[in-house]
Subunit: 200 residues, 2 copies
Amino acid sequence: MAKTSAPSTPKPSARDRLLAASDELFYNEGIHTVGIDRVIEKAGVAKGSLYYIFGGKDQLIEAYLFNRHQAWMHTVQQGLDAVDDPQAKMLAVFDQLGTLFAQPDFRGCAFMNATAEALPGSPEDRAATKFRGWIHELFGELARAAGAVDAKTLADQLVVLYDGANTTAQMDKTAAPARTAKTMAQLVLAATSFAAPLAD
Amino acid sequence: MAKTSAPSTPKPSARDRLLAASDELFYNEGIHTVGIDRVIEKAGVAKGSLYYIFGGKDQLIEAYLFNRHQAWMHTVQQGLDAVDDPQAKMLAVFDQLGTLFAQPDFRGCAFMNATAEALPGSPEDRAATKFRGWIHELFGELARAAGAVDAKTLADQLVVLYDGANTTAQMDKTAAPARTAKTMAQLVLAATSFAAPLAD
DNA sequence: GGAGCTTTGTACAGACCTGTCTGATACTGT
DNA sequence: ACAGTATCAGACAGGTCTGTACAAAGCTCC
C-alpha cells in the first residue's frame, strides 16, 4: 500500500471494480453462468461489499445492463454527430456496428444474449425492453427527420437490418454483416419515398 | 397415428418423453436455467432412466438441439417444395418464418438462444455451428440455383435478413418482421444480377 | 418360464450458488 | 481526534444442481 503518496493510479472504488468485472464476465460468459464468487474475485472485492453496495446479484445485473445501454447510446450518438445528412445518419449506425463487430471480444448484443437466458419479468427482461424502446425510437426519429413518408415502415426495416447484422456477426464470428446490412439499408433508402428533399 | 388404442394410453418411451419435456422446457426457459429434476418430473421419468438412456445432461442438450434442427429443416423444405421458381423459393423461407413467429410459444431461434448462454466448445456451440453451416448452405444453393452472378453476396444478404427477422420477432414479440424481411429480400433480389433467366 | 434389457423410486455425494453475519480495518470529513 | 462510512476476510446457512448407487419391478423375445 505505497500508492497513497503517488497519485498516478488511485484505485477505483469497489463499485467501479465490481462493474468492470461484471461487464467482462457477464458479457463474455453469460449472466447465469457466472457466479458472484467469480465476480468478486476478479474485482478484488469482498463479498460483503457487493451486498453492501448493490444489495444483490439482480441489482448488479441491472447496473451492468444499464451501463451497457449508456455506453452504446453514447457511441451511436458520436457516429450520428459526425455526419449531417439525415439519411447518412441512418447509415452511420451501421458503421458503428462495424467497428463494434471488429472488436476481438465482440460476442453479440448484450441485451439479446440477456434475453435468451432471461425469464419474463426478470431484470434482464426489463432492461432489454427499455433497450428495444430506444432502438425503435432511434430509427423512428431518424426516419422522421429524413422526411420519410412512411417513417414507421422505414424504421421497422432498419431495425431488422440492425438486429440481423448483430446476430449474424455473433453467430458467424465475422464483422462482415455490418457492411452487408449497410448495403441493404442503402437499397431500402433508395426505395423509400421522402417528402422534403432537404429542409433544414 | 396411435399405435394401440385398446388400453388406456400406450405411453411413449421414456426417451421420447424426455425429449418432449426437454424441448418444451429448454426452449421456453433456457438450457442452463432448467435443471434435470424439472425435466424428469415433466417427462414422468426416473432420474436413473435419463442417465441410462442419454448418459448426462450434455447429451440430452445435444439431442434436443439435433431434433430442433431436423424439425426446422423439414419445415423449410416443405416450404421450398411448394413453389417452383428459384427466386420464389428464397422468399418462401421468410413465409415459413412468418408462420413460425405466429406460434404463441415462439421465443426466438433455439440456436441463437443456446449460443447466448454457451461457452465455446460446449455441445450448444457445436450444434449451433452445424446449424449455421446449414443456413449458409441453404441460401447459397438457392442463390446458385437461381443463377445469381454473385451467389455468395446474395446468400450473405439473405442470411442477415433471416437472422434479423428472427431476432426482431423475438425481442419485440411480434410476427411482423417476417413480412418486413421478405419485403427487403424482394428489394435485394430486384437489385441482383442473374445469369440465366430460367434454366431448369 | 427365463434371460436380458429397460424403467422405477429413492437416497445420497459433491459441487456450486446466493445471501447473511461478524468482527476487524481502512478511509474521510469535521 | 472522532464519528461515520466504506471495505475487507472468511465462515456459514440453505438451497439447487449434476451425477451415482442400488434394489425392485416391468417388459420383450425366445
